[in-house]
């Protein structure tokens, strides 16, 4: 098994938003999607997925409706709302700045100081 990375606080929401922005997904699908995209580096605890989903839905970032999954099962599909799209954009930008900053700090060599 590949090394998994502990999720930073607050990043789960961002990952979920990104996952459902690609296409509407059901809960299990979101788990798989995140694992797949991150090359199995990110493993979402099943226990924390649903509370996060319900919180985002309550905040109006995603909406849900029942539909049929690839293997003909009834499943609840989550979709990004306009507000969710805005939030995803903001958070992604923030995350990018943040990781670049961290990267710069970590890349610093003694002669740069």
């Amino acid at each position: 098994m590949a090394t998994t990375t502990e999720l930073l606080q607050g990043t789960l929401d961002l990952l979920i938003l990104k996952a459902v922005s690609l296409r509407p997904e059901h809960g299990y699908g979101i788990l798989l999607r995140i694992q797949q995209i991150s090359g199995d580096a990110l493993q979402i605890q099943q226990g924390s997925l649903y509370p996060a989903l319900y919180r985002l839905e309550h905040q109006g970032m995603i909406t849900s409706e029942w539909g049929e999954s690839d293997n003909k099962r009834r499943a609840k599909f989550y979709r990004l709302t306009t507000a969710g799209r805005r939030r995803l954009r903001d958070e992604a930008a923030y995350w990018k700045r943040f990781s670049e900053a961290i990267g710069l700090v970590l890349a610093a060599a003694p002669e740069d100081v």
């Binding site: 059901h26 809960g27 299990y28 099943q46 226990g47 649903y50 509370p51 319900y54 919180r55 839905e57 309550h58 905040q59 109006g60 909406t63 999954s69 293997n71 099962r73 009834r74 499943a75 609840k76 709302t81 306009t82 507000a83």
Partner: protein, 874 residues
């Protein structure tokens, strides 16, 4: 669709929770199935896959909670659970719940009612456009508070500090239309009244300047004229004169006027019609100056102080005095805020009432407190166990908070029902003894007051079981609770103190009620042979030119008397005048100022025909009674008169000045009798013979053998038949007339008596509860005593002693407070000393007896303990 997503999801979580949960279940099942499929595909057996998927998935129950929490409805579901639990607790302890509810309801209900009355009477302002600018202006001569026309006319013309000055007076009149005659209370008002009171007729118009017109009150317009709009502008006959009905005032129009003068003999009641009055300068005839007398209210100019108004009026008066040298104006001017006048006399009874209600409320709170304390001891164990198995302090505190609030709220609701009922009763039993009582309703503030009081009372004491949780840790609490090692003595002392407090407060109320009962009894003590319920009285007033002649008036009286005498069931009938007219006594040859300077030499004059003594049961003690055919003016005086002016010497044969040229001879003395007002002390009275006394109106009194109400109707019909133009008014039994005069006493007694009874009940419940609780806690100890050979009688005595000690301490403490409070009540009493020892003794006896009765039950129960069962019990 996406607007207010949070609110929508909150609401759907709240109201469609079942659907939401089913939805989540389905979602998780789909998730699990997908996961299991994936695991099976990777090579696991279906059973292993299922187990593994479940483990990885975790506990759905926790997520369900979180899902609700996330949507902000967590506290709602918790609260609902707390409420359900609280209701179950109430059901499980029905006696406790019922007692607390009744106690709270009584305390809150009575308090709210009293609060509403006080709010209406003392706090709410007058119904005038600028209430704070309204003044009452009067001049005072001895105990007469009336304004004379010369004063009023001068003020009206010269005063600069008023926006309006209104003279007014009251009369009772028959108002007749072509097909209807109705009795009415008419207020005479001068023209400024309309502006000052802000009158805007809902029908018709205001009177024109100088027009003789009336405006009807709306209730009267409905009652007497079926709200017929055609009435406006038409003429009606009032007291023999044609008067135009200018209009009808709106339903809420009720400006407060001061009471009618005592000498008018009118009770206070709603005004049916306002009639324009003209104030005319004094007239001189035969050496006598005749002036109009009336009451006056005024509206201050904005920004002018009462002081400046007083100086203004006083300055004008000094000029008026100089201008009228031969007319004596009343010496003193009095100016005060109209509100203080209207409210004035009612303040003391209401404050006493407030104190009484406050006491009941304190007792109720003390009772609720110790009921909750008793309950707390029982529930400590529950608290300890729940704390031990993981319930947090906050969670438990909230639980108890909800329970207490539930009881408090229920108490407030029942209390409001009680308040409504008490208020309705208070208003019904006393239509006019207290000003503005009619305007009383339970308002929002009273509601808030009741609710706040209830919740606070319940909360403070409902939280007691939780208290120790915050003090000790859960383990200590549990240990104590399970081993029964509760700090019992401290708890019991608290309860004992509360009960003693209840007794102290109760005895004060009992003393108050006792003093009032004795007052009422004194007031109602009627002499032998005097049956006011079998005496019918009625007033006849003459109006119009037909009765300008004294002879015509006498003829009317004689004919009415003859007709009334022949009504079946009438034993005797007599003509008399409205008493309360007073004369200044001058004996033949007396120098002008009366003999004794400290006693005002006045007497009440009653004109009497021969049968008055028989009707009223007046008993001659010296000389003889009057006949209808006295050859010269004759007087009969009462004992007070005789005592005051003749001491021990015989008054019969003494001669007084009766008019400018005539002398009257005293022919007899009768025993003192209170005939006009029951609350009046005996005053000097004189009865002057009917043939030699001028009459402007008269009353007929008739003693009847049959049902007085039925006779009254017939008597009225016959008397009215003499001349339909002469109205016969205020027909009622003397008992009813007298009852009106003691209505305030009955009101005080009713309220105080009610409060005292409630207090007594609550205090008894208190002592019963405490003893029942403490004996039940001592079952084991009592069992041991019995097993060791104590007699059951000793156990009974022990418990009763315990109860009576508390009762006695409370009672003794209360007697001290009682002395102070009774002193405040002095003004409400009649011929009873506020420190009447019999009342104090009786009140103590009643209270201790109640305490004893309440102790007896628990004592007997304690004595019936079976030693073996008791010992096995713990």
């Amino acid at each position: 669709m996406t607007r207010f997503p949070r609110l929508r999801s909150f609401l759907s979580a709240l109201f469609r929770r079942r659907r939401l949960e089913a939805d989540m279940e389905a979602e998780w099942r789909a998730h699990l199935d997908a996961h299991v499929d994936a695991l099976v595909a990777s090579g696991l057996s279906r059973a292993d896959a299922t187990r593994r998927a479940r483990t990885e998935f975790g506990d759905p129950a926790r997520w369900r909670e979180q899902a609700l929490e996330v949507r902000g409805v967590g506290w709602v579901t918790d609260l609902a659970a707390d409420l359900r639990y609280g209701l179950r607790q109430m059901q499980r302890a029905p006696v406790f719940t019922a007692t607390v509810l009744v106690t709270l309801a009584a305390g809150i209900g009575l308090n709210t009612a009293v609060f509403s009355v006080i709010d209406a009477v003392l706090v709410r302002s007058l119904s005038y456009p600028d209430p704070e600018r309204m003044l009452w202006v009067t001049t005072v001569d001895r105990d007469q508070e009336m304004v004379n026309s010369p004063d009023f006319l001068a003020w009206k013309e010269q005063a600069s500090s008023f926006d309006g000055l209104v003279a007014f007076d009251f009369s009772n009149y028959a108002i007749s239309t072509a097909d209807n005659v109705v009795e009415s209370r008419v207020a005479w008002v001068t023209e400024d009244f309309w502006a000052v009171s802000g009158a805007r007729p809902s029908l018709g118009r205001l009177p024109l300047n100088g027009e003789d017109a009336v405006l009807l009150s709306y209730p009267f317009f409905e009652r007497a004229f079926h709200a017929d709009p055609a009435l406006a502008g038409r003429a009606v006959t009032i007291g023999g004169r044609q008067v135009t009905v200018a209009g009808v005032l709106p339903p809420g129009f009720r400006p407060q006027l001061t009471k009618p003068f005592v000498s008018n003999g009118l009770q206070e009641r709603d005004v049916d019609a306002y009639r324009t009055m003209r104030v005319t300068p004094p007239t001189m005839a035969g050496g006598i100056t005749r002036v109009q007398l009336f009451s006056v209210i005024g509206k201050l100019k904005a920004g002018v102080s009462i002081e400046r108004a007083r100086t203004d009026l006083e300055t004008i008066r000094s000029r008026t005095k100089t201008a009228n040298p031969n007319f004596r104006l009343p010496p003193t001017l009095r100016v005060m805020a109209l509100k203080d006048t209207i409210v004035g006399n009612a303040t003391r009874p209401l404050i006493v009432l407030l104190v009484a209600a406050g006491f009941v409320f304190l007792i109720a709170c003390a009772n609720v407190a110790h009921l909750f304390l008793v309950r707390a001891s029982v529930r400590r164990r529950e608290v300890a166990i729940r704390a031990a198995i993981g319930a947090g302090r906050w969670r438990l505190s909230r639980q108890f908070f909800v329970e207490s609030a539930l009881v408090g709220a229920a108490g407030a609701v029942v209390g409001l029902v009680v308040a409504r009922w008490s208020l309705a009763t208070i208003i019904r039993i006393l239509p006019y003894g207290v000003p503005r009582l009619q305007e009383t309703t339970i308002d929002g503030r009273a509601l808030a007051f009741a609710t706040a009081a209830a919740i606070v009372a319940a909360l403070v004491f409902g939280m007691v079981p939780i208290w120790s949780l915050w003090k000790d840790d859960a383990r200590g609490v549990l240990k104590q609770a399970l081993t029964g090692a509760l700090p019992m003595t401290g708890r019991l002392r608290t309860k004992g103190t509360l009960v003693a407090l209840e007794f102290a407060l109760t005895i004060v109320l009992l003393i108050g009620a006792g003093l009032l009962i004795k007052s009422l009894w004194r007031l109602n003590a009627l002499p032998d042979g005097f049956y006011p319920d079998r005496i019918v009285t009625m007033d006849v007033r003459f109006f119009g030119p037909a009765y300008r002649d004294e002879g015509a008036r006498r003829a009317h009286a004689a004919e009415a008397l003859r007709r009334v005498s022949t009504v079946p069931g009438v034993r005797a009938a007599a003509v008399t005048t409205n008493a309360d007219s007073r004369i200044r006594l001058m004996r033949e040859g007396d120098p002008l100022p009366p003999r004794r300077d400290d006693e005002p030499a006045f007497a009440n004059v009653t004109v009497a025909s021969a049968d008055l003594a028989q009707v009223m049961g007046l008993r001659p003690v010296r000389g003889r009674w009057l006949t209808d055919f006295e050859p010269s003016p004759a007087w009969v005086i009462n004992e007070t008169f005789a005592r005051r002016h003749f001491g021990d010497s015989d008054p019969v044969g003494a001669r007084f000045r009766a008019g400018p040229e005539s002398l009257a001879t005293v022919v007899g003395v009768v025993a003192d009798r209170k005939l006009q007002r029951l609350d009046a002390r005996a005053e000097p009275e004189l009865y002057s013979d009917y043939a030699h006394s001028p009459m402007f109106g008269y009353s007929i009194v008739a003693s009847v053998t049959i049902d007085a109400e039925a006779a009254a109707a017939e008597v009225r019909r016959r008397a009215a038949g003499v001349d339909t133009a002469v109205p016969v008014l205020e027909v009622k039994t003397l008992e009813a007339a007298l009852a009106d005069s003691i209505a305030p006493y009955r009101f005080n007694l009713f309220t105080f008596g009610l409060f005292a009874a409630v207090a007594l009940l609550l205090a008894s419940v208190g002592i019963y509860g405490t003893l029942a609780y403490s004996t039940s806690r001592r079952t084991q100890e009592i069992g041991i005593r019995l097993a060791l050979g104590a007699a059951r009688g000793e156990v009974v005595a022990m418990v009763i002693r315990q109860g009576m000690t508390v009762a006695l301490i409370g009672t003794l403490a209360g007697l001290v407070i009682g002395v102070a409070v009774a002193r405040v009540m002095r003004g409400l009493l009649y011929e009873v000393s506020p420190s009447d020892p019999y009342i104090f003794a009786a009140a103590s006896a009643v209270l201790l007896l109640a305490g004893f009765a309440a102790s007896l039950g628990p004592a007997l129960k304690a004595a019936s303990v079976q030693p073996l069962i008791a010992l096995r019990h713990e």
